[in-house]
Point group: C2
Chain length 506, copies 2
């Protein structure tokens, strides 16, 4: 095909991709609105509105004319296209294939089960009745296995589910990584539990007016570089980062008056996500090439700021005076060192979302092992609670007294999201690996943090990660940024060094 | 066609109409978000998102399968359908015809001119340069004339424009009505201006904290019956009533700290619109039959509460103690009677949106006469400012010193909305006629208002108007509710009686 013609085909595809991105942005705003703003009496109508919009997005995705454009472009073998352009074509193809390969009835059944599943799960969790949720879970495993056979016929069903959240990740790759983490972290947590040295964190409790917490969160988010001309900060039941566009990024937090650290760290975490969105390549904001790469890489950005920066000692040094100024009376007796130790207390607990840096990966590994076994047929749904509880006891030394505190705690399975959990810990490992490289690229990072000079950090993340969009696979990106693909050893070394010091081990 | 088959055709149409209504609701939320919530840096992206969604709505509207369903239904001549079902079919046909009759290029040119026109107008208004806006206006009249020839080939072009906002209304009907209003109101305003008696309204100025204004507005909106489980109240530059659904009705106001009446009356006005939306027939919320009838009837509901209720003496009696309680010190010296007179001061001014009850219709008539003359070719665009100013002087005795205070003040023409203005005064007349009937249907309305018993009033409006949806034409509705079609004499009598008393005329 002559060069002009193939470029015209590409331009037509771009128009379609932009339209899809814009309608996706509308969905983003509707979702944010639902969680933050919507009057509760509108729930039924909203569900129908979002279903109608999802229907439109699906229609646009399976438009045969788009398939035709993609076929022409992939067959062209032309040298006409830049890496970014090829990325758009590749991403368009991945989405088109995924959307068209699944029979419509299966898509509908999964959507319906997801909506019903959420209600059943919420009630079952409230009433501690796993047996009510079990049939939903069974049906979902069966549907998601079928789905996998259509979506990625060459992959194991669970690998196909993993691929949606972390493209390219497989059990073959992941299992040894998680086994390694488990072997290292389970004894470390046990040593900490047995240690006599327990940092005091009781002084984190107090009385913190919400308006002051909000102003503080806002100001630290701004310090990190969040652009409030292209974003907002609000309140929702569960903190999240959403919105409709890289120029309309909306983070949320929630407030408790007896503890400000929780809410502040949610702001920092979501700001990390938000900076990734706001930092996308400007000339392709409505195209796939600029989109955040995977769930794990997204999480690497939130955890970078939350764990590697805000849970570091330099951050406590930077902000302890500010905290004292905002909340007079609070922290009067504490030093920056005490604050640092208090916000890094390791304490095994039942609930994943409340877990600390060290026990969090163990919660994830437990879920990964269970999901894997559900899909390969070696674990029956009815047996999950028992397996859950015995793994909790084995790995963390605690046993949930109810399924509400155990297998029923997470929303993910109620919507059929299997293979999602590993992203959290993959993100933590990437964050650590990136940080490790950054401190060799930039001079005196701890000193800069103590000075509140976050601009260079944000700039480094922006150039190395945000601006790379979807040009590379996660492993390629890690290699490009750090010289090596994912390296769990970096993460383990970091955790050991940090927690051995805090707890005076070895 | 057998009965079962034609009912199946109807059911298919209902699915299409519901989908359209739901996507329209999404647009409503996006629009509200843009005005109330959106970060300013998102403006460009939002315009593109809304254009993409408008494109989808248009595609859905011109779907030939919908046209086919409508043809089958209108040709069926069956007795199968209820009035409500026929209404849905009729409304679907009106919309389908309107959307399909206009050539795509014309639709696009109008949309583009509207978006450019708004920018040009805003700048021209700021800089007082009518000559910059004139070419936009000229082009719009030409395009909207062409549009009218396609949309309603049997109507005069300006009548076609009127029909969009007030179906069935024509110049032949409207001109004598407006002439009558003019003959009655212009001398009345002149007498008031020449009267020695001037009610004192200086005490309305003061210092009113915004949080207290907000709580007051919220509480009065609630008194009127606005359901905050299915709605919200927020702040925007221009007050409006929007949202995504009858279960998600969002009103806005704006606050000035030196006057609380303005903001409160905006809340009352928008609550009137909101009650109409929240009061739609529950079994058809996503179908045209339940939709508010016309712009004028919508305005009749807001003006009913603002003018007929809140500007009445009973309302001042009801709330003066509450106002004193919320704003201690304020109104200490004023009585309910003084408050009533102060909020009914008549004072000719340049700006329509700030005009009082008596001069407002004159602003509208001036615009109507100019629009009519623009479309019949008797007024050239370049001559509009002069005509505007001389009419202002003739009708209201004041002459704007700039076009910013004159012809450039309103946004409507910048988007091509000709024929919209009359709705405001038609709405005021309907409101008055409805009120006049209501006080004969319900016993002791003034006494009920003094007691704060608004439930019976809301119920009356709900049964008589809200629940009627689009079953009737505006005239039919007026006749059904009051026994007569639109009767301007009722409006004039009301105004004369009220203002003669306040100003001690005759």
């Amino acid at each position: 095909m002559p060069s002009n013609d193939i470029r015209d085909v590409y331009r037509q595809l771009v128009l379609k991709l932009e339209e899809r991105s814009r309608l996706g942005g509308v969905m983003g705003v509707m979702h944010w609105d639902q969680e933050v703003i919507m009057p509760k009496g509108a729930a039924d109508a909203r569900a129908k509105q979002m279903a109608a919009l999802a229907g439109v997005l699906h229609e646009k995705s399976i438009n045969p004319r788009v398939g035709n454009l993609i076929d022409k472009l992939t067959a062209s073998g032309t040298d006409e296209f830049t890496d970014a352009e090829w990325c758009n074509i590749r991403e368009a193809k991945r989405e088109f294939d995924l959307e068209t390969k699944i029979p419509k009835e299966l898509v509908q059944e999964i959507a319906e089960l997801g909506s019903r599943g959420h209600q059943v799960w919420a009630k079952a969790r409230e009433e501690n009745r796993f047996e009510d949720f079990a049939p939903i879970l069974e049906r979902f495993i069966s549907l998601k296995t079928k789905w996998a056979e259509h979506a990625f016929p060459d992959l194991e069903p669970y690998d196909a589910n993993l691929d949606i959240f972390e493209r390219g990740m497989t059990m073959e790759r992941l299992s040894p990584i998680f086994d390694y983490l488990k072997i290292e972290l389970v004894p470390l947590v046990r040593s900490i539990n047995n240690s006599d040295r327990k940092p005091d964190d009781s002084f984190l409790e107090g009385d913190f007016p919400i308006d002051k917490q909000e102003a503080l969160g806002n100001s630290i988010s701004r310090d990190m570089g969040f652009n409030f001309d292209k974003g907002r900060m609000d309140v929702s039941v569960h903190p999240f980062c959403g919105g409709g566009h890289p120029t309309d990024v909306r983070i949320t937090t929630r407030y408790r008056t007896n503890n400000f650290i929780e809410s502040l760290f949610a702001v920092i975490h979501e700001t990390g996500h938000g900076l990734y969105e706001q930092g996308r390549m400007e000339d392709s904001l409505d195209l796939p090439v600029s989109e955040p790469l995977t769930m794990a890489v997204h999480e690497s950005q939130s955890l970078f700021w939350e764990r590697m920066i805000a849970q570091g000692k330099s951050f406590s040094i930077r902000y302890i005076d500010k905290f004292r100024e905002v909340f007079p009376g609070f922290l009067k007796v504490a030093s920056a060192d005490k604050l640092f130790k208090a916000i890094n207390v390791c304490r095994p607990s039942f609930i994943r979302v409340e877990a600390d840096e060290l026990t969090y990966p163990i919660h994830i590994i437990l879920r990964y092992e269970i999901e894997k076994a559900m899909f390969d047929g070696t674990l029956m749904v009815k047996d999950i609670p028992e397996v859950w509880n015995s793994k909790m006891e084995k790995y963390l030394g605690i046993k949930p007294s109810t399924d509400t505190l155990g297998v029923l705690q997470d929303v993910h399975w109620s919507g059929g999201a299997f293979g999602y959990f590993p992203s959290y810990t993959l993100g933590a490992m990437y964050a650590c690996q990136f940080y490790n490289k950054m401190i060799t690229d930039l001079k005196d990072v701890p000193g800069r943090i103590e000075q509140g000079d976050f601009a260079c950090i944000r700039k480094w993340l922006n150039e190395k990660i945000h601006q790379q969009g979807r040009l590379y696979s996660p492993d390629q990106l890690a290699k490009k940024v750090t010289g090596k693909a994912l390296e769990p050893g970096v993460f383990i070394n970091y955790l050991k060094t940090k927690y051995n010091a805090i707890y005076g081990l070895n």
